[in-house]
Symmetry: C2
Subunit: 732 residues, 2 copies
């Protein structure tokens, strides 16, 4: 192959490095106004009054909205939110009013002049306390703070635990994590004179926003067009409709001018969705020979004040819980809850990092208890190719064995340091993740059109979205390979909007290379067939270049253009009511091995080295795959070691990059990546999705390495020096 | 029919009226520079030196270009131009240098500081004198100022003239006409960091500019993307690549930033192409019974200093000359010439107004000489349906008889005015024009894609360009009709660029409704078939709405999206070397009747009333067709009565709207339009093109009416009071 498998530099890299990419903050439309949202400083309360009369006196103000001015109908996953709040606030940051003005200073000043009276109510922030009797109920019509309960079961769990040689159990606590995307949150809305809305929105789900925003605005989705600027990172944060998108649209309609609403970094940290705080109670049982017998989990997941994707993270947890390892019995309960905190949403890994922190820690504990090598223990219970799991997962390609063996070969126990207060250890953890889409909607498909112009240049118009992962480059390589032309002759129309692009469900679940890649491949294959048919019909030689054939086909009597469209929807199904089913057309495995050094005097654990082996099916672009793995390792390192939203009375205390510590360059260990190519039969050229898996196992691998180094078992993220030090002290 | 034939308001009208449409002057890209071109004030001369050193000292200057800095290869129709001139200037306005700066004032100041030394050469402006021996030759390598000669002949012309009962002859003189589009000329160029150019260009020919500009820049067309902003009128002016487009691109590349080059109105008047000055010498012969016998024409057409479409206007003249009326013998010679004046280009009607001024004047003269009613004389010699002409034209639908009879019925001779110095008269003139494309390239085709989304909204992605004529609305009506959905549920993706859109040759030759309309109809028909196939396969009731069927088809196992593409290239051929052939899939006829009042003391002729009958095949949107006819009448009125580029030593003396007089609202007569619907068999729903025909016959109809009122025969446009007064004086 000539294009697939090549280390093609990202097609958008040069523009991004040169500052030429246009993000939402770079948009300047004629007559555009700037918007600001007035937000609640009270975590829970009854709105008595919102008086905007003084705000109108600020020069340059063009529109002011309160809840009275907008559609009253609640929207969102649990129909529990509106763009502006009219009766009650349920978290610090709730939207009370919004202003559009000729400049941002005027909009801010106008917000400051709005008089708000709120009668405080008792608030609840703790995800266990929120379910206790007497806790303040956020949404009275819902009766309690329980959003929903997810159940799953296979095998005879009670019997398995009863006969087990070894049972381990523990409670694992995971913090809220900020996406910390460098691109600011925002949207630019403009209505044409016919009443049609164009929203410039760095969303991950343009086609779902078209539907959902129309519902929130009470207009027809046919009157809505979503245009995506370059997206400065998303990681799941832009996987739902949030109030700011509706507010920008409503202000623009009221003002009769384009409106840009950009979050400050503080607003982003305080109000944009986060990875949900989660508590995982887990028991795992094994036989004396190392055969895994059973798992039992009871999980609490925070939704914050309004339900978004946070409430669905158990769906991914269940998928791993029921499919990962050959485990004959498993029982799962997860409850999602409302609290007076910021909403929680999707975040790379989507529940899997939370669950596997517990699962992979207990795999390590069991191996140690049974005196087995942790990798051998995993190998013994590993999924195999062509297996059907008790949960209904249909495993096709499976490189679990290979990734475990790769880490085993490359992760060596380091020499003990000379300094007695430094301890070194190694640890491993594995991951199972969807790699061929995830059918959580009725369609998991993507459409693509490939056209080849008179100059032999191919344009790919695909529903998929690039959030930095390299979609454009991967699609160009797939199209180039199928068409037999150089990658430089393929352009992916990334500026296209929902009017022009074929449908796609969005960028999530590591699905784009697999799903969109298959759609592009099918369309390119058909375009190639048109070219070859023309070559044959026009009796052109086999070595006549593509552009010559295309021109000959175009510039003849009854000529035609080369253009083909395809839609790919994977052969999967949604889970049934018992959460059984095969949601993905392929699954992926990985294993991370880490070496840590722990200062037992300070509790500081430093990750020195990571070996990250992943079954990628086939690397369409090894450099991009390595980038995904390295990025996942670093982001997972941040989750495991540094990041945490520190709340006090419902307010995040560390809402700036100085205090909210994502890994810096000095925190990044040596990372050795190993790409295992199993050649998935359904994936495009064998590829499987790899966007999320690398963030998952790094945390438990570090925890297992800390245990290896110190004997101390960490069950809470982030594993800060203070927490490690406390555990060390407790263990003495 | 529900959508075709409806008076749907133009879909872009509300945005344009509200100031929301975005023209090239509205574009603001981050870091965008403004550009200015330094132009020659010498009409012909040798460039001795261009010194830019002082210009660099102006604050804010980011790039300066002279001919030395750009590709030297000549480009254009006759390969006679470059973006910047290095050795010689050949007209006032020639591009000597260009500056990009942070603001336009700095760019202008820098241009003023460039020191240019030019050694003047003798210049020639007159289109007859330029061919005389000893005239200064503009392009020495070409040998003379003759660009090319077009010939055509059928029948025995000499014999026909010899046997004629009546022969009329005359010389007709036509001025240069400015397009006077309200949208300024300009372009915005930006290069991405991979070296690919995006040009925001209100061109009529995006796909040809992709090819031609790549040639001028010496880059691959694959690295060029043309995006059209809203276009503020064009009328043919934007049918070729001109130096400013290349200059914007070259400056942007040099500066490493986006560059906008906008013409001042003065620059537009002085340097943008105009309708060519033309001299038509014509003889026409008829038998005593009113049978047309022969025509003989000898024509001179100005190309200005560099060849653009001006040199091709005889191609359209020939088409009319050989096909219009049943005329058994015809002979035609047209020579196109270089002069030291601004280049000439395409202009609505494209030679036909020039030629038919002569032809239709002589038809009137012959009728009068033979004592025949001018309409009866035309009827006697009129083309008929299903006729093959001596030139090879294949006439299908033909409403010539109907338009003549409509004018006869509606144009009544007015009562004589009471004032003795006022004379009233009536006159008619007819027109023949292409109505089904015009194959001047190897492809006269257009591609279209129609997709229908989950909400039942259809998007039309079509290669065609809207220059104000209503393409968007006509295409929406055609798609809506074929799909069986309301026009409000169709959106035409007018913002799409050459990467995304299927190919089209451009907007010219009244071809868009016919050619693009057929492409859209074919694509919509296929999309409709997909919907109906899905309805049948899914057993949905016949009254299930389209959106429901589309969703059912999409959201099922192995689902698919509704999307179809088509390419329509009409069944025509290019003319042969003798200018015979059938270039259009349909032809159109019209007849204008006018009533004028002439003040014989001042020579002022005022058009009081116009009856404009046109064979439109079928009116997709009668309101838009009426708009085209009214607009054509008014623009043709300007050409006939007011407009003229007054040159002195090669410089246009009346280069502002105050002096260059296009018709104002008070000049517009009552216009009664008559739409004759002949239902063309090849046209979309029977439609034929009507963009140009209405500009053609108004001039000769006025001239004939002046003759009717005063006995004076006008053979020069514009028919100003001075010219009419002189003819009246001469005739006394």
């Amino acid at each position: 192959m000539k294009s697939v498998g090549e280390r093609v530099p990202k097609l958008d890299a040069a523009d991004k490095a040169a500052g030429k990419a246009r993000y939402v903050q770079d948009l300047r439309l004629p007559g555009m106004l700037e918007a600001k949202v007035l937000r609640s400083t009270v975590p829970h309360g009854r709105i008595v009054s919102v008086d905007v009369s003084e705000a109108w006196k600020v020069r340059g103000v063009r529109a002011i909205l309160t809840a009275k001015d907008i559609p009253a109908k609640a929207w969102g996953y649990a129909k529990d939110t509106t763009a502006l709040k009219g009766d009650r606030v349920r978290r610090i940051g709730d939207e009370l009013a919004a202003v559009a003005a000729t400049d941002i200073e005027a909009a801010i000043e106008a917000c400051e002049r709005i008089k708000v009276v709120i009668e405080p109510l008792p608030a609840v922030y703790d995800i266990e306390a929120t379910l206790a009797p007497g806790a303040p109920v956020l949404h009275e019509s819902k009766g309690s703070n329980l959003v929903q309960t997810h159940h799953y079961e296979h095998g005879d769990v009670a019997a398995a635990f009863a006969k087990a040689a070894k049972v381990v159990e523990g409670t694992f606590t995971l913090p809220a994590q900020q996406h910390a995307a460098l691109g600011p949150v925002g949207a630019v809305a403009e209505w044409d004179a016919n009443g049609r809305l164009t929203l410039h929105d760095p969303t991950q789900i343009p086609f779902l926003v078209q539907r959902d925003l129309a519902e929130a605005l009470d207009i027809s989705p046919a009157d809505l067009r979503i245009v995506q600027p370059a997206i400065g990172g998303a990681f799941g944060a832009r996987l739902d409709l949030y109030p700011h998108e509706a507010i920008a649209a409503l202000l623009a309609r009221k003002a009769g001018a384009p409106v840009r609403l950009l979050f400050s970094r503080d607003e982003d940290f305080q109000t944009d969705p986060v990875r949900p705080r989660t508590i995982v109670k887990l028991r795992t049982a094994a036989a004396a020979d190392g055969t895994l017998l059973a798992r039992d989990a009871d999980i609490l997941v925070d939704c914050g004040a309004y339900v978004s994707w946070g409430s669905m993270t158990p769906v991914v947890m269940v998928n791993t819980f029921g499919n990962f390892y050959q485990c004959p019995a498993a029982k799962f309960r997860a409850r999602t809850v409302w609290t007076n905190t910021q909403p929680t949403g999707a975040f790379r890994g989507f529940g899997n990092p939370e669950l596997l922190f517990a699962v992979e820690t207990q795999m390590d504990e069991l191996a140690r208890a049974l005196k087995l090598d942790p990798i051998e223990f995993r190998l013994k219970n590993a999924n195999r190719p062509e297996e059907v799991t008790p949960a209904g997962g249909r495993i096709t390609s499976c490189g679990f064995k290979e990734v475990l063996e790769a880490v085993k070969a490359k992760l060596k126990r380091p020499a003990a340091p000379a300094e007695p207060h430094l301890k070194r250890g190694i640890g491993v953890a594995a991951v199972f993740h969807v790699g061929g889409g995830a059918r959580i909607y009725r369609s998991d498909g993507c459409g693509a059109t490939v056209k080849v112009d008179d100059f032999g240049k191919a344009t790919v118009i695909v529903g998929a979205t690039d959030i930095g992962q390299g979609m454009e480059t991967a699609m160009a390589q797939i199209a180039a390979e199928e068409l037999g032309i150089p990658v430089s002759m393929v352009r992916v129309a990334t500026q296209a909007d929902t009017d022009v692009r074929p449908w796609d469900v969005g960028v999530h679940a590591s699905r784009t290379t697999f799903i969109a890649g298959n759609a592009v491949r099918l369309a390119a294959k058909e375009a190639k067939k048109q070219i070859e048919d023309a070559r044959a019909a026009l009796k052109l030689p086999p070595d006549a270049p593509v552009d010559k054939v295309v021109r000959a086909e175009h510039f003849r009597q009854k000529g035609r253009l080369i253009s083909a469209s395809a839609f790919y929807d994977p052969p999967t199904s949604m889970v049934d009511k018992a959460n059984h089913g095969n949601v993905s057309a392929a699954y992926t495995w990985g294993c991370h091995g880490v070496e840590v050094e722990v200062d037992v005097e300070t509790g500081q654990a430093v990750v020195k080295r990571v070996v990250a082996a992943h079954d990628v099916g086939r690397a369409i672009n090894p450099m991009l795959v390595e980038g995904q793995i390295e990025g996942g390792v670093v982001q997972g390192l941040g989750y495991a070691m540094f990041e945490e939203c520190v709340l006090k009375d419902g307010r995040m205390q560390n809402g700036f990059f100085l205090d909210y510590r994502i890994p810096g360059i000095k925190d990044v260990p040596d990372i050795e990546t190993v790409l295992v190519e199993t050649g998935d039969p359904e994936g495009p050229f064998g590829a499987k999705g790899i966007g999320e898996a690398p963030i998952v196992p790094i945390g438990p691998a570090i925890a297992n390495a800390i245990a290896d180094a110190t004997g101390v078992r960490m069950r809470e993220f982030p594993m800060t020096p203070e927490r490690v030090w406390r555990e060390l002290r407790n263990s003495r």
